[in-house]
Subunit: 356 residues, 2 copies
C-alpha cells in the first residue's frame, strides 16, 4: 500500500522551497519506484488567514492519517500581534503534540564545500557532524501550571518545567540508538546543579546507558555545552537534551555550520511516523523572490525517506545529488561565495533533479 | 570610613588568582589612597570541608557586613557526589540570594591583543564589547514548587520558572542605565512565543523603555540570540535576560571572545553592594600549579572599584595596567600564542603590579 505524505507548505518562503522538494519526490516516484501519495493542507499563518486557526481540524485529520508530513516553515510579522492561540507557531506546537512527535533529530553538519561559510575558523568546523536529539513534546513548552496572574498587587508570569522518567527514557533511547549507527557517543545535556528536573534527566540517562554497552555516555551542563559548541564543536557525536535547552543549543549548533539553509530536521513519534522540515524559518523578507535555498527542504525529504518511508537507498541518492550540485559550484544567495555561480530556488531545485 | 571587602578565595585555582588580585588591592591602598579593609572567609567546597556547609553562618555574617565581596571560584569533582545542599554551587546560589545580588553584569569583550584566540574569524570579534545583564536571584533557579516526586507510578521532576513584574523592572532598568553609558542599545532576550513568563518580561521591558527616550530597545528570541551571537556578535551592545537564559547566553558569549581567563563579572544589589568574580570556574585540573590566569580576577577588582567603591579612576588604572601587560606580550598558558612570553600566575600578577 502506498504511504501517505502530507505536504504543509506554510508561510513565507515555505511554498517556494516545498515546491522544489515535491518535484524531487515526483522524480523518485516516476523513476525509482517510490510508492507514495501526496496530499496538502494548511498550517500556520496561511491556515489562520483561511480559517482563523493555525492547526485547523481539516489539517489535523489529514496529519493523523498520514505516514509522514513535509513542512516548509510557518510564521511572519503580520501574525505577531494576533492573540496567542492564533499565532502560527501555536500550530507548530499543536501538531507536534497532537502527533506525539517527541523526538526531534537535528543534524548540524558542515559540507566540505561550504566550510568557509562558517563564522568559526574553518579548521574548527571542517567535517563537523553532530546530531542533536531534542525532546519535543514535553518540558516547559507544555508544562502546567502556566500563565500570567495578579499576585500581591502585581503581575507574575510563571511556567512549569516538567519531565517524567518515561518521557526522558524514550528520548534518551532514541539518542543511544542513533549513536550506535554513528560515532557511538552520547553527550546528555542538563543543568543538574540547579534544576531537579534535569537531575532526574541525568539519573534516567545513566539507567538507559546500562542497556547500551557499546555506546558511551557523558554529561555536560547546558552553560558549558553552549561554550563547548563554540570552542570545539567536533568533540560531539550525539547530543541529547530537553525541549528548551535543545531549542537553544540546536540553533546555536546550526549557526556554527554557517549554512542553516542546508540543514534538515525530523520530528518522530514512537512508530516511525514523522514530520520533516528545514531548520530555518519562513524568511518573510525574501518570500516570493525566488531566491530561497530549497536544499534544507530537499534534505528533509531524504530524512523522510530514511526514517518514515524505509527507503534509505533513496535517501542516500538525494543526499548525493545535493552534494553533487554543491560540487558543481551552484549556490543560492545564502551560501554563495566568490567564484561560485549564484542561482535561485527553482534553478537549484532543477539542478538537484538533474543530479538525481 | 573605610569600605569593607570580604575575600572568598574558594576552591581550585581560587586562592592563587585571588592572591594576585589582593596584591593589586594592596598597591591601591598604599599608593593611591584606596581606603578599604580586607577580611576573608570560606565559601564553596573549602567551606564544606571545614564546616559541612557551603555558605556557613560565619561567612554569611561577614558577607552581610561587607560593602563588596571578591570571589575566586567554587567547586571541584570531589564535591560532585555530596548531597545537593552541600554542593559548592549551593553556596554560590545562597550568597547571591542572601545578599540580593539580582544584577549580574557580564562583559564579553575581546582585547585587541587577543583577537586571534577566538574560535571565530578575527574580523567577527575584533573590538567586540557586549555587556550581558543577567537577572540572578529569580527565575527557575529559585522558583517553587520544585523537586522529584512519584506520580502515577513513576518519578517526575519539576521546576518553576517565575518572574514578577517588579523583578523584571529592576533588572531591565539596570540594563537601560548601563546602555546609557555605552552604546545606547538594549536587546532584551525572551521566549515570548512559548513562555508566558517571558511574555510578561517583554511587556515590562517595553514599559521601562518609555522612561529612556535616549536608549533603544529591541527584542530577540533566545534561540535566535544563541545563533546571532555566533553569526555576528558585534550587533549587540547591552543584552538583558533572565537567570537561566542568561546563564547559557553569557557563557556562549564569553567563549566567543576566546579568552575566558580575561573576563570579570559583577553581581550587584540595589544599593551598589556587589560580589565580583572571574567568569571562569575553579579549574581543578590546574589548581596549585601556578599557571592560572589571574587577570579576570584582577579585572573583577576593577569592576568592584567602579561599582561598589566609587573609584572609577582606579578602575581605569587597573584596566590600563592589564592592557599594558598584554602589550608587553606576557601571556598565561590559557591565552598564550606563538611569539608571546608564557608566564605563570605570580609573574602575571607581578607584571600588573609593576604596570600600575
Ligand atoms: C517557533 C517555535 C515555537 C519553535 C520552538 O521553539 O520549538 C522553533 O524555535 C523551533 O525550534 O522549531
Ligand atoms: C555554578 C552554577 C550554579 C552557576 C549558575 O548556573 O548560575 C554558574 O554556572 C554561573 O553562571 O555562575
Amino acid at each position: 500500500m502506498s504511504k501517505k505524505i502530507l505536504v504543509l507548505a506554510g508561510d513565507g518562503i515555505g511554498p517556494e522551497i516545498v515546491g522544489e522538494a515535491v518535484k524531487v519526490i515526483g522524480v523518485l516516484q516516476r523513476e525509482y519506484g517510490l510508492d507514495v501519495e501526496l496530499d496538502s493542507a494548511l498550517l500556520g499563518g496561511c491556515a489562520v488567514d483561511a480559517s482563523g486557526e493555525p492547526y485547523p481540524a481539516a489539517t489535523q485529520a489529514k496529519a493523523r492519517a498520514a505516514d509522514a508530513v513535509l513542512l516548509g516553515a510557518v510564521g511572519g510579522p503580520q501574525y505577531d500581534t494576533l492573540p496567542r492561540p492564533q499565532r502560527p507557531e501555536r500550530g507548530l506546537l499543536a501538531i507536534r503534540k497532537d502527533l506525539n512527535l517527541f523526538a526531534n533529530l537535528r543534524p548540524a553538519m558542515v559540507y566540505p564545500q561550504l566550510a568557509a561559510a562558517s563564522s568559526l575558523k574553518p579548521e574548527l568546523v571542517a567535517g563537523l557532524d553532530i546530531l542533536i536529539v531534542r525532546e519535543l513534546t514535553g518540558d516547559i513548552y507544555f508544562g502546567e501550571p502556566r500563565g500570567i496572574e495578579q499576585r500581591n498587587g502585581e503581575r507574575v508570569g510563571f511556567n512549569t518545567m516538567i519531565y517524567s522518567e518515561s518521557e526522558i527514557r524514550r528520548i534518551v533511547r532514541v539518542a543511544f540508538e542513533a549513536a550506535r549507527k554513528r560515532g557511538g557517543r552520547v553527550c546528555s545535556i542538563d543543568k543538574m546543579n540547579v534544576l531537579e528536573t534535569t537531575q532526574l534527566w541525568r539519573d534516567v540517562a545513566e539507567e538507559v546507558a546500562r542497556d547500551y554497552a557499546d555506546v558511551s555516555l557523558s554529561h555536560m551542563l547546558v552553560d558549558n555545552a553552549a561554550m563547548q559548541l563554540v570552542r570545539n564543536p567536533k568533540q560531539f557525536d550525539v547530543m541529547v537534551t530537553g525541549n528548551i535547552f535543545g531549542d537553544i543549543l540546536s540553533d546555536e549548533a546550526s549557526m556554527l555550520t554557517g549554512s542553516i539553509g542546508m540543514l534538515p530536521s525530523a520530528s518522530l513519534d514512537e512508530h516511525g511516523k514523522g514530520m520533516y522540515e528545514p531548520i530555518h524559518g519562513s524568511a518573510p523578507d525574501i518570500a516570493g523572490k525566488g531566491v530561497a535555498n530549497p536544499l534544507a527542504t530537499i534534505l528533509s525529504v531524504a530524512m523522510m525517506l530514511r526514517y518514515s518511508l524505509e527507503r534509505a537507498d533513496l535517501a542516500e541518492r538525494v543526499e548525493r545529488a545535493v552534494s553533487r550540485v554543491l560540487d558543481q559550484g551552484l549556490r543560492t544567495a545564502d551560501i554563495w561565495s566568490a567564484g561560485c555561480e549564484k542561482v535561485g530556488t527553482v534553478a537549484m531545485g532543477a539542478a538537484v533533479l538533474a543530479a538525481l
